[in-house]
């Protein structure tokens, strides 16, 4: 689009335009030129998968969001004498994330948006390069990263499994769907997601009437014979359950959950990994001015904006906000700013996003999507909290096991 070219021209014009910055906070570079900031983007080697081909992620899933956030930063940067660029690296299978982070740092990236699995994220954070960096976790929902294994140099933009589970469960209980049949996949991630859902049910007064495991037998997700086979398999699998109101699927590995709706033995709604899904973003969402961001993104990338894209956008915008408030000079200053009262991220979610000081998790509302529309946004009305209703989502300050070293 022509906007990108003109933006570059405007970036040059920005140099001349702002002889006197109007607001006292951001200081122009000492030589009167543009302050440039390199943002790193480090992403996992493996591809995420999905049952529906409509849900298969684009090649630039996540990174496109960070690039869109960078564009927004750069528009502000024209007025403030700042410019942002992205240094992206995708790990090769088996590649050392610590070395990859060091390479990004050699390119000047101190702030690094990370779409990494939990183990790789910790490797990067604990490395020598990690010591001088601030990582923004956009791709790992693991509770452990925010609890026992929390790190002082990792900010969690992505909502945790407990936050997602609480967002969903609050709504289910508002619907008075108390009795839940939990179906769990056989992979580790599925079990962690199930743990979060169970904790949430216990926390808010739901009841898991039975838990069943759906073993991944290694079948093809989209075989030609799939429809006929699945149509026989799922009713049998869900038969003879105690009375329940809603079926909850814990299937992060995308093996079976999408097959549950319309095929379960009992006519009950499905939620969790299929049906009603808690998520950081949905391309159908248009509240709180979100349409503007959706359209901006679609014009640039010719596809819909996903939750991972939104996490990338938020990470990039956090760094942009730090720069605009003269707090991006070093990672310590940025962290201090993010934890201060001055930080408020406007992310089209109806209220400001702020950072939890006890584990560096971004406080945020969570959308509940049926795949076509946003059904609701949690926290639900009536779930009270003495400090912030957003803290009814996820592990709260008194519960946290995070102790920064």
């Amino acid at each position: 689009m022509t906007g990108r070219i003109t933006r570059k021209i405007r970036a040059l014009a920005g140099l001349l335009m702002l002889a006197a910055p109007a607001c006292a906070e951001p200081q122009p570079a000492p030589d009167g030129g543009v302050q440039s900031l390199v943002i790193g983007y480090l992403r996992r080697a493996e591809n995420r998968t999905a049952i529906s081909r409509l849900a298969l992620p684009a090649e630039n899933d996540g990174q496109a969001g960070a690039e869109a956030g960078l564009d927004d930063n750069n528009v502000a940067g024209e007025f403030l004498g700042q410019s942002f660029s992205l240094a992206a690296h995708r790990l090769k299978p088996g590649e050392d994330p610590a070395q990859a982070l060091a390479d990004l740092q050699a390119k000047g990236a101190r702030f690094v948006v990370a779409d990494l699995a939990a183990a790789d994220l910790l490797k990067a954070a604990d490395s020598a390069a990690g010591a001088g960096a601030l990582l923004f976790n956009i791709g790992a929902a693991d509770e452990a990263l925010r609890e026992d294994s929390c790190r002082a140099n990792v900010i969690h933009v992505a909502p945790s499994r407990a936050m997602l589970a609480d967002a969903l469960t609050q709504y289910l209980l508002w619907k008075q769907w108390r009795k839940m049949l939990l179906v769990v996949g056989s992979h580790d991630a599925d079990r962690l997601w199930a743990e979060a859902l169970k904790r949430s049910a216990a926390r808010f007064g739901g009841k898991i009437v039975e838990e069943r495991m759906f073993a991944d037998a290694g079948g093809a997700r989209r075989a030609d014979s799939g429809v006929a086979l699945v149509q026989k398999q799922i009713p049998a699998f869900t038969q003879n359950a105690p009375a329940y109101d809603v079926m909850i699927a814990a299937d992060e590995s995308a093996v079976f959950a999408d097959y549950l709706p319309y095929r379960s033995w009992d006519a009950r709604p499905v939620a969790g990994s299929a049906g009603l899904v808690p998520t950081a973003w949905d391309p159908s969402y248009e509240q709180a001015g979100a349409t503007q961001l959706q359209q901006r993104f679609e014009r640039k990338f010719f596809r819909h904006m996903t939750a991972l894209d939104m996490n990338g956008w938020e990470a990039a915008r956090m760094i942009g906000e730090a720069a605009a408030h003269d707090a991006a000079g070093d990672v310590g200053a940025a962290k201090t700013y993010f934890l201060s009262k001055d930080f408020a991220l406007a992310a089209f979610k109806g209220q400001k996003l702020t950072l939890r000081d006890w584990n560096l998790q971004l406080r945020q509302p969570v959308l509940l999507s049926d795949g076509r529309n946003v059904v609701s946004v949690s926290p639900q009305e009536g779930f009270m909290h003495q400090f912030s209703e957003l803290d009814t989502l996820g592990l709260d300050r008194p519960e946290t096991k995070c102790r920064f070293k």
Binding site: G3, R10, M17, L18, A20, P21, A22, C23, A24, E25, P26, D72, V75, A76, F79, L80, G289, Q292, Q295, R296, A324, H325, A344, L345, A346, G350, Q351, K352, S388, E389, L390
Partner: protein, 325 residues
């Protein structure tokens, strides 16, 4: 007979004269209509189908024409305030949101939300004169009383951009609190009040030094700070009171302009957006986006005295016969 004809003509002239412009116009963002409220009786008088996503409105200095920004049609429609009919439209660039006129009525300013632009239109020829590039998602607009400066706010960039109205050049960019939605000059032209929806404040900018001199903060009893989201702001013509719409807090805050302190919170409808004073300054009418009504505030008593049902998702109000703050 000739006498009777001229009397009829005289009566007709009276009926369409601007002196009778006592209607309030409400843009219904999702209804794609303009609700017309009779300001004397405070009753809904007419609903005008206008086009897709009407939001910002402005009235010509002679009070005869209402301009309506149609965001999804990329146009500005004109409505005759006498006959209450749509008389035409012109291209406005992508997604015009809010519009204002220069005091002489010759130039129309529009914020184009989707293209980071403040666009200037010559109203005689209805041609685009050019504009100024702003930050991301321009929205709020205010024209200084002397007409020399236009202030536009950008939601994602969180700035109030001061633009020279003659040269169409940016004079200053003031970083304000998160997601600024609306700007208003005090009647003496000395201050610009900018609402910050996510920041939860009103930033007060000195119009001369173009620096933030103070912030108005709100504490609504029984409500969480994050639900207090300042959007609209209207300053009374005597410059004493500012009325700040607090969106999902369902309140309009009354702020003492001199002390910069809120003195009262008025309970209105749901998701209150923008407001306008009646020409006599007696009432402030405020549009409630979720409850689809307009709250009528008695300015002297500081009380909500009435609610008027309008179209779907009312957003902005314009009332001919008054200078818009």
């Amino acid at each position: 007979m000739p006498f009777q004809v001229s009397r009829a003509a005289f009566a007709l002239a009276l009926m369409t004269a601007p002196a009778l412009a006592t209607d309030a116009f409400v843009s219904n963002e999702k209804g794609n209509t303009i609700s017309v409220i009779d300001v004397e009786s405070l009753l809904l008088k007419k609903t005008i189908a206008v086009g897709q996503r009407p939001r910002g409105m402005a009235v010509s200095p002679d009070q005869k024409t209402l301009y309506v920004a149609l965001g999804d049609d990329d146009k500005i429609a004109t409505i005759d305030t006498g006959s209450l009919t749509v008389t035409g439209d012109f291209d406005a660039g992508r997604d015009p949101e809010r519009i204002e006129l220069s005091p002489d009525g010759k130039t129309l300013y529009a914020t184009n939300e989707d293209s980071n632009f403040l666009t200037f239109f010559n109203l005689e020829t209805r041609e685009r004169l050019g504009g100024a590039r702003l930050g991301v998602e321009p929205e709020g607009l205010a024209v200084s009383p002397d007409g020399k400066v236009v202030v536009a706010t950008t939601e994602t960039t969180s700035m109030a951009h001061f633009v020279d109205a003659d040269r169409r050049k940016i004079l200053a960019n003031v970083l304000v609190d998160a997601r600024p939605r609306m700007a208003a000059f005090t009647p003496d032209g000395k201050e610009v009040w900018v609402t910050a929806e996510i920041g939860g404040t009103v930033c007060i900018i000195d119009a001369e030094t173009r620096k933030i001199v103070d912030r108005v903060k709100f504490e609504v009893p029984g409500l969480r700070a994050e639900n207090v989201q300042p959007v609209g702001v209207n300053i009374s013509r005597d410059g004493k009171l500012a009325f700040v719409s607090l969106g999902p807090a369902n309140r309009v805050a009354v702020v003492d302009v001199k002390t910069r302190q809120p003195i009262k919170y008025l309970l209105v409808g749901q998701r209150v957006w923008h407001a306008a004073f009646t020409p006599d300054g007696k009432y402030l009418l405020a549009a409630n986006g979720l409850s689809n009504d307009v709250s009528v505030i008695d300015v002297a008593a500081l009380k909500v005295v009435k609610s008027i049902q309008v179209g779907e998702s009312p957003w902005e109000l314009a009332i001919p016969g008054q200078a818009k703050p």
